[in-house]
């Protein structure tokens, strides 16, 4: 059996993304073709009906990589902590 290749990431979900996906944090291994935050969001949609609901409208999703705001074009590296969330509403 061929050992699974790919990029290991930690994905965090906040607010209604956490509620819809049913998890606050998960470890994923994505194929090499998933190279950016935008690719990751598209890939996550197929994980469960909850994920599909959470990511139905990718335009409203914001992200941070290793605790810094990032955008859909930001490249992913092995071991990254990718946080996905709706636009912030503090203050």
């Amino acid at each position: 059996m061929i050992e699974q290749q790919g990029t290991k990431l930690t994905v965090l979900y906040f607010a209604w993304l956490r509620e819809r996906t049913g998890s606050a944090r998960e470890q994923v291994t994505v194929p090499e073709a998933v190279g950016t935050a935008g690719d990751l969001i598209a890939w996550l949609r197929d994980r469960s009906p909850g994920h599909a609901s959470a990511f139905a409208n990718p335009r409203v999703i914001r992200c941070a990589i290793n605790q810094e705001f990032a955008d859909a074009a930001t490249k992913l590296r092995p071991g990254d902590e990718v946080a996905l969330f709706p636009p912030v509403t503090g203050g």
Binding site: W16, Q67, E81, P87, V88, T89, G90, G91
Partner: protein
Amino acid sequence: MRTIRVQEQDFDVGAEFAGLAGSCAGIGGIGCFLGIVRDAAQSRPISAMELEHYPAMTEPAIERIAAEAERRWSLLGCTIIHRFGRLAPGENIVLVLAAAAHRQAALEATAFLIDWLKTRAPFWKKEHYTDGEQSWVEAREEDDIAAAQWLAEGC
């Protein structure tokens, strides 16, 4: 003196003012914004406001916002305290104090800090209504516009 705290418990506004005012003899004024939980959202009464945040990122994000304020104005100190957890109407949510030698820097920096906190600090609010329903607060376009105006002016 820069003080940044993200905490569940309440804060003492008077003590925070006194602490900042006493930290530097050159301070001539302190601008203040105190955010409080309203008792209704779009005229629908609420029983609580729940604030979620991203612990590993929140304080670094607020530090970056404070550093930007210090770069733009001659501040002699600032205090930013943001609460999380479940808050009842009337409770404090956020405190921003900006101290300077003169009022213009103190007041402008205070407005800048709260505008950027609203759009660049990883907090999410959920309203719990008195009828038992709940919903996540949606980001307001006015907040983005208010935050963006500082980009134009800061160049």
